[in-house]
Each structure stands twice: as C-alpha cells, then as structure tokens.
Subunit: 411 residues, 2 copies
C-alpha cells in the first residue's frame, strides 16, 4: 500500500475505528506524536482527561486487523497521510483550519461543544479505481437537497455531465435527490465521480442506492472516513460534508431548502476559501430558497451560476494553481528546481519562507515576528510551504527542508 | 393649476412640444434663463448652433395653446416644475446628474451622441387622480420583458398586489408582459399604480392596452413627457425609462432577457443611486437571463429579491428618508425652523452649507475648495440644499437663501 509500513497502517485503521471524525484533540495528538504512539497510548489507557475518555473506552473492542481484512473482502483499501495517494492539496486548507483550532485548543480557548469539524481526516477508506491524490486538483462538488425538485435534478444531471465531459471529477455525497442526480450525470457520459459516504463502505446508504455505489466504484471512487460496518450517524453526515467541500475545487449548491444539510457543506466550502456557488431557481420553489439565501448572504456569499461555463470560470483559477500536485520527492531535487518553486510562491508565502533561520526549528509565532505577517496568515501558509517541499515540520515546529533528509517527517 | 402663470404653462407646453426628451443643452438653457425666455428665443430663432437647430425648426409649427386644449379634452393636465405637484424629490437625483452633464457641456466636454438621458423632464403631461408629488416617496418600479413567461407575469402580479396593499405606488411602463401584469396586480387589490408612457396620453401604446390605460387613470396616474399626439418613437422609450427609474424609490427587474429594454431602466436606477433589485428564475429560462446577469454584475449589481418583504427591506430606508417633501415655502419660516432643517442634513450637505459665504453668489468649484469636498459630491448636494430652502440658485451660482426673498428663483 504505497510503501506505508504495516505498523502505521494498523495504527491508522485503529484510530479510524476508535476516534470520531473531526476530533481536534485526537488529530492534534496524532500530528504531534504520530499515529503509532497515539494508538499505543489509547490502547494502554494512559491518556487522561475528558478529551480522550470516549475514545479510550472504544479502544477495548477495536480490532484493526479484522477491519482491514473486512475492507479487503469488500474491495476497499485504507489510504493514510503517509501514502502517496493521500490528497495533500485537497486537505491543505482543512489542515490550516486544524492548526488554528489546535492552537486555540492548546491555549485553553477550546469549547467542549466546538470540537471543530475542520480538521483533516486521520485516514480514508476508499473503494474504486480513481487515484485519490488526483482528485481535488480538477474537481467540483455538486450538492443539494434530498427532496429535490425535477428542476434541481435536471440541473444536477446536466451540470455533472458537462463538468465530467470537461475532465472534472464530480464530487457528491451519494444521497437521494441532487447527489444521486449528480453522480448519475457524470456516469452517463463515462466521466469520473467521487462519492463521500457518511458510513462504512461495506453497505450503501441510503440502501436503495446500492447499485449506484457499485457503479461509482467501477469507474470512480467511494470514500469514507468510517471503517467497514460503521453506521451513518447524524454527526457523521455533518463531518462528512467537510470532506466533500475539501475534495471539490469549488462547491455548487444546486438546490437547498432553508434548512438543508447542503448549506453545511457550503459553509465548510466558504471557510476553506474555496469558490462557493449556487444555482438560482423560481422564487416559489422551497428547494431554491437556500440557494437564494446563500447568494444574498453577507457573511458567506455564494456566486450565482447559471451554466457550467460560469462554474469553470470560477473554479478555473483555483484548479489551475496546482497544475499537478508536487511530488513528495521534490525536496530531493537540485537548487535550480528549488529556485523555480520559490519563484512560484505568492508574496506572503515567500516572505514567510524568507523569515526562516538557516538552521534549527522555529514556531509560527517567531516566524510571524520575523516576517511581519500575522500569525494566522503564517499558520495558513506553512502547509503550502511544506507541500512544496521547501520546509518540513515536526513536533518541534518547522525548519528549512534539508536536501540530505528529503521531505520525510520525523517518525 | 397650482398658482402657475399662464405664461409659464404655455412656455413649458411649447418646450415639451419642440424639445426632445432629455435634451441637455435645452434643459440647461431653461434652467439658466427660465422657460419663458427660452421659449421666446426659440420662437425668434435667435439660438444658433447645432444644439438648437432641430428644436428651432420644430418651433415654427408648435401650437402650445392647441396642445393644452387637446390635453383638457382628454382629461389631461400639464405639471411643471413651478407647480406644487412637481415631484422634486423624485427628480433630485436626475437633476444632480443633469448638473454634472451641464457642467461638462459648458466646458466643451460634451459629445454629440451623448446628449445625456439623465436630466429631469421640462414638464410632464399627466392624466388621472394621483398627486404626482406624493409619488416617488413611497413607490416601487416593477419592470421587465414584454415577452414575459407565465412565471414572470405571476411574480409581477403578486409583487404588485402585495406592494400596493402595503401602500406603495407601483410604477411601470404600460407595455405588454411584465408591465401590464404589474399594473393589473396593483389594480386588482384597489392599489395605486403609475404608468409612464413613451407617447402622448391621448392614445394608448400598445393600442391593445387602451382599457388598461383608462383603468389606471381612474385610480392612479398616467404620465408622459410627450404632448398629446406624440408618437412613441424608439428614443422616447429609452428616455422614458429614466422617468420610471426616477419615480420609483427602487426598481425591481422581474424578468429580462439579455437584451431587454428593462436593463436600460435598471442602469438608470443604479446611476441614480436607487436600490436596484432583480428576481431570479430557472436557469433554463431566457427571460431570467438578464436578471441573473444583473445580480452577478460587478459594475451595477442588483440585489436578489424573492419576496415583497425583501423589496421593502431594501427600499424601506430610502423611502423613509423624505417622510414628506419639504414645502417650497420653507425658506419663509423662522430661524428656529432653519436650525431644525440644518440638523436634519447629512454631514456632507452640512459641510457644503457651512462653506457658503455669508453674502454673494458662489460656484460649485469654490464650494469644493472651501469645504474640502470633491466637486462632484458638492454638485450632487446642492439640489438637496436648494430643495430644503437653505440655498438658492441662479445663472450666477448659489447663495444662502434670504428670508426676505424666500425661495424664489430669479425670473
């Protein structure tokens, strides 16, 4: 599985079973101590405090080997951040949000009920033929109401088919209504589609969509944060929506009532800094009321789109930025290549990079002082520099990437 | 007719016959020299140059007495700026635009083909029971395509009825499609509606709407810049649209194709600084394409509205500003009243007023220097100060209004 050790794979499978999606304290511990040490500590029951009580309780019954075997039986595989297939670019914005939240968490500013949905997943169970790493570079999420109108389903099918024909991966959630129409629209033209499910991939949810799930797996990809057998509980739908927003270069809300879950995906999309779009409809239709509210919104305004050309114009620039994800071996390349990568940086990222000391580890706060850039902007920029192979991170902070040790994280 | 002399009324009737709507040089001359002197000069043929050639040529056949008699036979009356019924507030924004264009004209910056549609009318022929001066204080223009869809006509009827029920005058252009639906919607609930026609009011245009024109006159008002018998020519439709935009506190584009004339009204509305709104529709409908374009526009963006509540929220503040038009006799009131009026001024207007010398005439340029406010902002503000009775204007410029001579313009 892409050069990932069995130890790491088992640890990530275990964490995916015992941790709830988007658990900020757990994500932070895994980031700082690594998956193997975190899994061992949870098994040993040495993590105290309310943040880890429920997770530790679930550790007793966890059997990651059985989960991996069950996954293999169902044609699934586990994709982890240590693997080549991990979609770093898609999750960079989630990671920036996670860093911010983790920083607030460590300063005691966290709220118990605000465990932050915006951290990257610890691992993803997938089934199908698409390479997950290539998604999120040229993709569009189409989301909307389950109780869709004929108009909404027509728009979703039409947009999906045209986007797929243009080479975009159509990302959605596999639910009835808009989601189903979007997946089917892409499949109808032989295009690629990605379905993010809230439950384990061994069974379809909703059950009536079992054949759709199978068809998506044949030419596209099924993705879930939850291990085989996991029920699609309510909070998993909400946390699932951040994965949809992150895997789309932009998100189009095709139809949504005033209380649709699709608005939750839209908010994630806006927070991630991705283009948020909405399709208008007749003012008498309840299913378009949420779209109209988004277009009018003063906090997270959606752009009104009436055609796939509009959508491509808006996601185009975003999709063009990373023409191809930088290989993780970039850091091994020569100085000329590094100069090229530096030239490609936007000015903020360049200033942050220039603020690094020649040797030794440094934290975001010191970089903020040295660069004269706000700490939050520094925190947002660091994952980009890391993905570009220019810096590397550890529990000690960040440092200039060394050619000798490449871009490997400390174990 | 509201204390207006026969001499002025005849002069304005004559000017309305010989001048084309929105003729900037003519409007400027009337403003500077007054209607009687301008009419006399046109009759005498003493105005030279290409700006007045066509107007002078038409003067030979003009018979304002016959026009006024014909108007009376058709139940019409002529409303002039010197009359109490003139809607000063509605036209203040047009006047500000006109002052700007006149300034450019006098500096030789004018273009022959840009004779500026945005000057107030020289007079208005009206038929019906509404007091024109009360319109524009609590009114909404509903405009849209002649080739409207069933959806668009339903929206226009529904919005018009609800707005009329809330006491708003529904302003539109009497054309087929959206306009007709808007007028009928207001009439259906016994509400007030105002129809601005591009041709003379002795005949309806389109002819099939003759009974609609009659019904509007019974409880509302028909308005035209053109005298009886005037054909509704193409350029009159375009200049007519500025009157619709000016008489509405805000304008709602209900349905419009990409090339609809309603978009012309929308641009006028935006330039006048009034709230511009548009109703969304299905993306497959050509009749909504213009609305969607307006909502997305970066230069003159329209606010997306889905209900009359949305409309009232947006025009509400604008409609509330002038609770009642200030009487033109305000300037005769005492110092205490003047202090009250000064307190009611917004800060820009107050700064412009404070920049006036105690005596003598002054131009906008000197006021701009003395107040530190941009010349354009000063020019916009002056008509407001004049309408509030605080300053008075003449060909020599502006000065503080004198209690002794009230608010009379120099003859």
């Amino acid at each position: 599985m892409g050069g990932v050790s069995d130890e790491v794979l088992l640890a990530r499978a275990f964490l995916s079973r015992v941790g709830e999606p988007a658990d900020v304290p757990l994500w932070r511990m895994v980031r700082d101590d690594g998956p193997v040490a975190t899994a061992a500590a949870l098994r040993a029951g040495t993590l105290r405090g309310p943040d880890f009580a429920a997770t530790t309780a679930r550790a007793v019954d966890a059997d990651p080997e059985a989960d991996l075997e069950a996954a293999q039986r169902h044609g699934m595989r586990l994709v982890v951040p240590e693997a080549d297939e991990w979609p770093h670019f898609a999750f960079a914005a989630l990671e920036a949000c996670g860093l911010r939240r983790a920083a607030a968490w460590s300063r005691g500013l966290r709220k118990r009920h605000d465990r932050g949905e915006l951290v990257p997943p610890l691992a993803l169970w997938v089934r199908g033929v698409l390479d997950l790493a290539t998604v999120g570079v040229r993709s569009v999420a189409l989301v909307g109401a389950r109780a869709a109108s004929e108009y909404g389903e027509w728009v979703a099918r039409d947009f999906a088919a045209r986007l797929a024909e243009k080479g975009f991966v159509v990302v959605s959630g596999g639910a009835h209504g808009i989601d189903t129409a979007a997946h089917r629209g892409a499949l109808a033209v032989g295009g690629e589609t990605l379905l993010v499910s809230a439950g384990g991939l061994d069974r379809a949810y909703p059950p009536g969509n079992a054949s759709l799930f199978d068809r998506v797996a044949e030419t596209g990809l099924l993705v879930s944060e939850s291990p085989p057998g996991a029920d699609p509980r309510r909070h998993r739908f909400l946390t699932r929506n951040r994965i949809i927003a992150a895997l789309g270069t932009g998100t189009v809300v095709v139809e949504a009532s005033e209380r649709s879950g699709a608005l939750n995906t839209a908010i994630h999309c806006a927070r991630l800094g991705r283009p948020l779009m909405a399709v208008p409809g007749p003012i008498g239709s309840r299913q378009s009321a949420g779209c109209h509210r988004l277009i009018r919104s003063e906090t997270d305004p959606a752009r009104l789109v009436t055609s796939v050309a509009d959508v491509i114009e808006l996601v185009g620039s975003a999709a063009d930025l990373p023409a191809a994800p930088p290989a993780r071996t970039d850091a091994l390349a020569g100085a000329a290549d590094r100069t090229q990568r530096l030239d490609g940086l936007e000015s903020t990222a360049r200033r942050v990079f220039d603020a690094f000391p020649a040797r030794g580890w440094v934290g975001p706060d010191r970089l903020a002082v040295a660069s004269g850039i706000a700490p939050l902007a520094v925190i947002r920029t660091l994952p980009m520099l890391e993905l570009a192979g220019l810096v590397q991170s550890s529990a000690a902070g960040y440092r200039i990437a060394r050619r000798s040790d490449g871009h490997q994280r400390p174990p």
